[in-house]
């Protein structure tokens, strides 16, 4: 992806509730990949989930799922049953098949007990 935009600098959610983090992207590539990375207070970047653009089915990893709207160029992350350990910065990122990864500016997620 050539540009990745995260319009929510901060979000908060109550423990056990569901939260959705937004991401839009723009690319001229027909073959591309989208990712969500998590950066907890330790600052270690961790892959949360990955979506191939050619796949119509939304990716799911346990409590994490994406809503991939290709026509709208939207790639949101849904966290279900939020846990205190989900508190982190979340970065949306994308790349075309031969491109390097481009990151959004991140969304800080706070989980309230």
């Amino acid at each position: 992806a050539q540009t990745v935009t995260q319009s929510q600098p901060e979000m908060s959610v109550q423990e056990a509730e569901t939260v959705t983090l937004s991401c839009t992207y723009d690319t001229s590539e027909s073959d591309y990949y989208l990712f969500w990375y998590k950066q907890p207070p330790s600052r270690q970047m961790i892959l949360v989930i990955r979506q191939e653009a050619y796949k119509q089915q939304n990716a799911t990893e346990n409590r994490f799922s994406v809503n991939f709207q290709k026509a709208a160029k939207s790639f949101s992350l849904k966290i279900s049953d939020s846990q205190l350990g989900d508190a982190a910065m979340y970065f949306c990122a994308g790349a075309g098949g031969s491109e390097k990864l481009v990151f959004g500016k991140g969304t800080k997620l706070t989980v309230n007990p």
Partner: protein, 113 residues
């Protein structure tokens, strides 16, 4: 299994001093290697990437340079640090570009005084 090591974890340097941050990857051959910088409140900015020994591409003009003296070693350097070089530096590796997942090191916090 593959692991990535990055050091030092924390560094405080005076303006005008040199810099050397090191990154090594174990358990894989011919990885793509990356240096990112994360300034406070901002996303990840790709500084350099390398697809092989001695092959370095710079993404942004800056006071920094990178070298890859060995297949799995990536070094970020500066001859004279500026205040604006302060930030959190992340090394990462992948197999190829685009579709492939970036795996990050634990990061290096640089403070230039």
């Amino acid at each position: 299994s593959q692991t990535i090591h990055q050091w030092p974890a924390t560094l405080v340097q005076p303006v005008g001093s040199p810099l050397s941050l090191e990154c090594t990857v174990e358990g894989t051959s011919n990885p793509n290697l990356y240096w990112y910088r994360q300034a406070a409140g901002r996303g990840l900015q790709l500084l350099f990437y390398s697809v092989g020994i001695g092959q370095i591409s710079s993404e942004v003009p800056q006071n920094l340079s990178a070298s890859r003296p060995q297949d799995r070693q990536f070094i970020l350097s500066s001859k004279k640090l500026l205040l604006s070089d302060s930030g959190f530096y992340l090394c990462a590796w992948s197999v190829g570009v685009g579709a492939n997942v970036l795996t990050f090191g634990a990061g290096s916090r640089l403070t230039v005084l």
